[in-house]
């Protein structure tokens, strides 16, 4: 971590970058917040540890409009989002100096019983340990690092940065599950089971828009759910429909653009597994139109803005 701070300071001092976009210490070990640092003193609060799950790519949209370059720290999975945003002309590659940081898997404080945590040891970077020692208001406990990881880290796309100016720090492969297993499990359910499952999950939705606002693919200046263009700015939470409409359409709008960064599921206050929507589309796209990973190749044709004349017909495989 000191290496990162050191490097950031020298880039700031040399004037190569005008600011640093990274993570800042919070009140507690786990409430790390994304932050811009303008000076070396501010960088004293810089932190990089197992709780730095936040994907900083999206902040580069605004940073691209500012004078000078921004040094941005990107984890391997964040770089996909960065690339995708470059592809969509939302961020300016020239305005970013990217330090690709190693990743050993990121943690979900909730899995450690976040509300009672006073301290966590073993989540530091680069020296994270296999076991986390968690001090809570009500005693101490040990939790395996793996058991506290974000869902997305178990299905990690790999620790290779897709875009960077320099790399600092090592990574550890954390992938130990099939990325599409959850989707496949739902696909195998009966329509009634599927409906019951999603109905239970989506009825928790409070329309807070955290999933949308954190999503690097949801980069619209004005979301259609906020604009009057479709009469879709209802904000209502009265029935079972609005949430479905919102999540289906959101998934559809990011289909072929979603890098599966998992931020939506990370931030949902109600713990709705929102990645299951996006990943369903990714699975379908891979199966029907060939493997496609958004954010790898800036020049690749996106699956929903291209076609083959012998594409599958809608409803293929239906009973």
């Amino acid at each position: 971590m000191q290496e990162l701070i050191h490097r950031a300071k020298s880039l700031l001092e040399s004037g190569e970058v005008s600011r640093v976009l990274g993570w800042k210490k919070g009140e507690n070990v786990f409430d790390v917040e994304p932050a811009f640092f303008a000076t070396a003193e501010e960088l004293e609060n810089f932190v990089y540890n197992g709780f730095c799950g936040a994907n900083l790519s999206k902040y580069m949209i605004e940073a691209s409009t500012w004078e000078g370059k921004t040094l941005v720290f990107l984890k391997p999975c964040d770089t996909y989002s960065f690339n995708q945003l470059c592809k969509e002309h939302r961020i300016d590659r020239e305005k970013a100096y990217i330090i690709g940081v190693g990743c050993k898997g990121k943690l979900k404080a909730e899995k450690l019983g976040a509300e009672n945590i006073l301290d966590v040891q073993g989540a530091g970077y680069p020296d994270c340990s296999d076991t986390l020692k968690v001090t809570t208001l009500y005693g101490e406990q040990e939790v395996a690092y793996k058991d506290a990881m974000l869902e997305r880290c178990h299905v990690c796309k790999g620790k290779e940065h897709q875009v960077y100016d320099e790399l600092i720090g090592e990574s550890v492969d954390t992938c130990d599950a099939d990325r599409f297993a959850e989707v496949a499990k739902i696909e195998a359910m009966s329509p009634e089971e599927k409906f019951a499952f999603f109905q239970a999950e989506l009825s928790k939705c409070i329309r807070c828009n955290a999933c949308r606002n954190v999503c690097p693919a949801c980069s619209c200046r004005k979301c259609i759910f906020d604009s009057t263009k479709f009469d879709s700015n209802q904000k209502a939470n009265t029935t079972s429909f609005e949430e479905k409409m919102f999540h289906i359409i959101r998934a559809f709008h990011v289909a072929g653009r979603c890098t599966d960064c998992g931020e939506c599921s990370r931030v949902c206050p109600q713990g709705i597994p929102l990645h299951l929507f996006n990943r369903k589309f990714i699975k379908d796209i891979n199966n029907l139109y060939g493997e496609y990973q958004a954010g790898v190749d800036i020049d690749a044709k996106a699956p929903l803005t291209s076609f083959r004349t012998d594409d599958a017909e809608p409803g293929v495989g239906r009973g």
């Binding site: 329509p191 429909f241 609005e242 359409i249 379908d284 409803g315």
Partner: protein, 146 residues
């Protein structure tokens, strides 16, 4: 939720592209090829004009089935529109299936201007299917049903 009420009439929205399917529907009309009056056609310039939002909106407001008809792949008046529509609808329908919405409620059919018979047959079979499924409840907004 199949209903026993034989008087129940489904609400069916059919999006038809101007160049092929709408003309196909016209041909079905001028050939006096009957299909249920439950089907109401909305003209769009091309199947690629149909936003998934339109389809969800139809269900929200109480449609029991939504069908999209366009030119046969390769015959699109705008050359490529139905290819995009095909991918979009494939994904959308797959998502609706995934959410447990009965799959018979959505369909895409390619109907040319010369296929009045196909248009009529398609609508007959689609309406029949939706009738067996009964009123749509999984995607509707209760507010407009009271």
């Amino acid at each position: 939720m199949p209903v026993n009420n034989e008087n129940w009439k489904p609400t069916i929205v059919a999006f038809c592209c101007n160049w092929c399917s709408y003309a196909g529907a016209d041909l079905a009309g001028s050939s006096r090829l009957a299909y249920p009056a439950d089907v109401k056609i909305i003209k769009v310039p091309c199947s690629c004009r149909v936003n998934p939002m339109f389809i969800l909106r139809a269900f929200e407001k109480g449609a029991d089935g939504v069908i999209l008809c366009g030119c046969h792949p390769g015959d699109c008046h705008y050359s490529t529109g139905n290819y995009y529509a095909r991918r979009r609808m494939t994904l959308l329908f797959s998502m609706l299936d995934y959410l447990g919405i009965e799959e018979g409620r959505t369909r895409v059919e390619w109907v040319s201007a010369a296929e009045g018979v196909k248009f009529s047959e398609t609508m007959n079979s689609f309406v029949e299917k939706v009738r067996t499924l009964g009123p749509s409840v999984r995607l509707g907004d209760l507010r407009c049903k009271n």
